[in-house]
């Protein structure tokens, strides 16, 4: 492999402002020429991705293709080997050879609190009540007063429909409720972008819907989101752009109706076939495709085109308040 040119001014050729992006906005997240080695395992082989405000992008790909690694490099849970991360105008370059100095550490912390992550395994703090899980970050990290923090926390807890679980311990919640609390915890930090790493993979199939509903809601309200997911129905409905990653590089990028419904690259096509069964192989008329596992769930999900604020699908997940309506 020959040396690759790296430049801080590289741009994601596929990135373009999403349907909800305010005019003239700069990208919130830029990952530039990102590479990551685990030992000699070359996991990310130079990826460049830009996400504009109020966009939802989905990251799909086989197990081990580097999806989580990319997401975790964005908020420096993993130290990238080469490249740049920029979140909300804050740029930090990869620097794998030295421990980070204080100034760097502070920059990284600033990036983290702007790019909040929701984990597959929820990772709620089990020794704290739900409300304390939510206020921990704002109080310790953003220096809010407890009262302020609680007010914000309650707002977002209400948003995910769990106001009444305020004083429960996480151990007493179902998986779906846990993940909704985790989303509320991220929202309470009022970040610029939300990172989701397979937020429904650890859930019982019957509980996937309630979490997907919350995420859809957020997407439609103009939250900026990067979502690693296997829920094709979600990607199809809510994503502005889908990145298909394989072997640490983007193989195909585009709007969902291109990447998912009529993939051009044979690798994408094979992935979709293998992962979701043959029912997903592109067909002229999606509506006539026979329902399968994933589609059974998809019935709980409203298509973006049909969605309007305040409307409730057949399956609701409790009281949900609506933030700023996208113009």
């Amino acid at each position: 492999m020959d040396p690759i040119p790296v430049s801080a001014d590289h741009h994601d050729p596929y990135a373009k402002p999403g349907t909800l992006t305010p005019a003239g906005a700069e990208p919130v997240v830029r990952a530039i020429d990102l590479q990551k080695f685990y030992g000699s395992n070359h996991v990310l082989r130079g990826v460049t991705m830009e996400v504009f405000p109020s966009e939802t992008v989905c990251l799909i790909g086989k197990s081990g293709s580097g999806k989580s690694t990319l997401l975790r490099c964005i908020n420096f849970l993993e130290e990238p080997t080469v490249g740049f991360i920029e979140v909300d105008g804050l740029r930090v370059a990869a620097d794998p050879l030295r421990p980070r100095n204080r100034q760097h550490q502070e920059q990284i912390r600033q990036i983290r609190l702007r790019a909040q992550m929701v984990f597959q395994e929820f990772n709620l703090f089990p020794h704290m009540k739900v409300i304390d899980n939510l206020v921990e970050g704002p109080i310790r990290v953003k220096g809010l007063s407890r009262d302020q923090a609680i007010a914000t926390a309650e707002k977002y807890l209400d948003k995910v429909g769990l106001a009444e679980k305020r004083d429960e311990y996480p151990g007493r919640l179902s998986g779906g409720q846990k993940q909704r609390v985790a989303i509320a915890r991220a929202l309470t930090m009022e970040p610029k972008v939300l990172l989701f790493d397979e937020p429904t993979s650890a859930l019982d199939p019957t509980l996937v819907g309630e979490v997907i509903n919350v995420m859809e809601e957020l997407a439609h309200e103009g939250a900026t989101m990067i979502v690693v997911t296997h829920e094709m129905a979600f990607a199809r409905e809510a994503a502005d752009r889908v990145y298909f990653i394989e072997g640490g590089t983007f193989v195909e990028v585009g709007p969902p109706d291109q990447v998912i419904e009529s993939p051009r690259d044979p690798r994408t096509r094979e992935f979709l076939a293998r992962t979701f069964g043959k029912a997903h192989v592109p067909s002229a008329d999606t509506d006539t495709a026979l329902p399968s596992d994933a589609d059974t769930r998809a019935t709980q999900v409203r298509l973006k085109s049909q969605w309007s604020p305040g409307s409730q699908g057949a399956t609701s997940y409790g009281p949900v308040g609506h933030r700023n309506e996208p113009g």
Binding site: E121, P126, G137, V141, P170, R185
Partner: protein
């Protein structure tokens, strides 16, 4: 046609016209539950009986043989029992201090600062690598050489807690490492500093994991505190030895001491069991 054993189970009745008729399900459930309860009761009764026979038989045999002098027990028993508060005081103080040692020890063992890590590791290695009895005498004789003169009680407590602190250090470290990596990552992702993560997220969870081990160590401590008798602390064992040698009845004296320790550990174990059960039932699930 078929060879085999057994008729239908007892649950029901056989009648002439339609063979065997089964009891109502509720009756079946009740009968099985009753049979289980009977078996459990029988087991427990035989268990208790065996203990009584063994312990009582041994006591009776000793009393009969004339090898054990009941008047000795009457005379010296109270003297030995007076050691219990001392034993308890030493044990409680030592376990508290040991937890403090262990907290710092564990932070050191988890530190990525090489000198701090090295010091904590040396502490653990040295203390776990030498006999407690050596350490107790050592603290008694060594610290004064550096101008630190502690009274015997303080010195004994210090030695015990220094020793247990090293063992607890490793338990605490394991407790911290048992916290799933996701907890740290979630806290990092929130933007928390390393200090906050440790103090707010990791330690509170680790301590709960570690409480049973502290309980176990406390129970061991009550027994190991017998060794501080060497530095003139008049706890149960010291008193027993003293009484024994004075009246040439070391055997009886030690038997009394053994009983005292046994009862203490049984009581504490029961207490610990209840504590653990309460913790398991509590709101906070880890």
């Amino acid at each position: 046609m078929a060879m085999g054993v057994g008729g239908p189970g007892l649950i029901g009745r056989v009648s002439a016209e339609d063979g065997f008729r089964l009891a109502h399900p509720d009756v079946i459930v009740a009968q099985i539950a009753a049979s289980r309860a009977r078996a459990g009761l029988r087991f427990r009764m035989i268990f208790v009986l065996t203990w009584i026979v063994l312990v009582g038989g041994l006591a009776a045999a000793l009393a009969e043989s004339g090898k054990v002098d009941p008047s000795f027990i009457a005379k010296w028993g109270p003297f030995i029992l007076q050691g219990i508060p001392v034993t308890l005081f030493v044990s409680v103080c030592s376990i508290v201090l040991a937890v403090v040692f262990a907290l710092f020890g564990a932070l050191g063992r988890l530190s990525r600062n090489p000198p701090i890590y090295a010091i904590a590791t040396l502490y653990v290695s040295l203390v776990r690598g030498t006999p407690l009895i050596v350490q107790i005498i050592f603290v008694y004789l060594a610290l004064p050489q550096f101008g630190i003169v502690l009274d015997a009680l303080t010195g004994g407590i210090l030695a015990l807690s220094f020793n247990y602190g090293a063992y607890l250090t490793e338990i605490f470290r394991a407790g911290v490492e048992a916290i799933p990596r996701g907890q740290r990552e979630a806290a990092q992702a929130l933007g928390m500093t390393e200090r906050s993560i440790m103090r707010r997220v990791i330690l509170p969870q680790a301590i709960r994991i570690v409480i049973p081990a502290i309980g176990n160590d406390f129970i061991s401590m009550t027994k190991d505190s017998a060794l501080v008798s060497l530095v003139t602390i008049q706890e149960v064992f010291w008193r027993a030895q003293n009484a024994g040698t004075q009246s040439f009845r070391t055997f009886e004296a030690l038997m009394i001491a053994a009983m005292v320790y046994w009862v203490m550990t049984i009581v504490f174990s029961l207490g610990q069991e209840r504590l653990e059960k309460r913790m398991a039932e509590g709101d906070v699930r880890l």
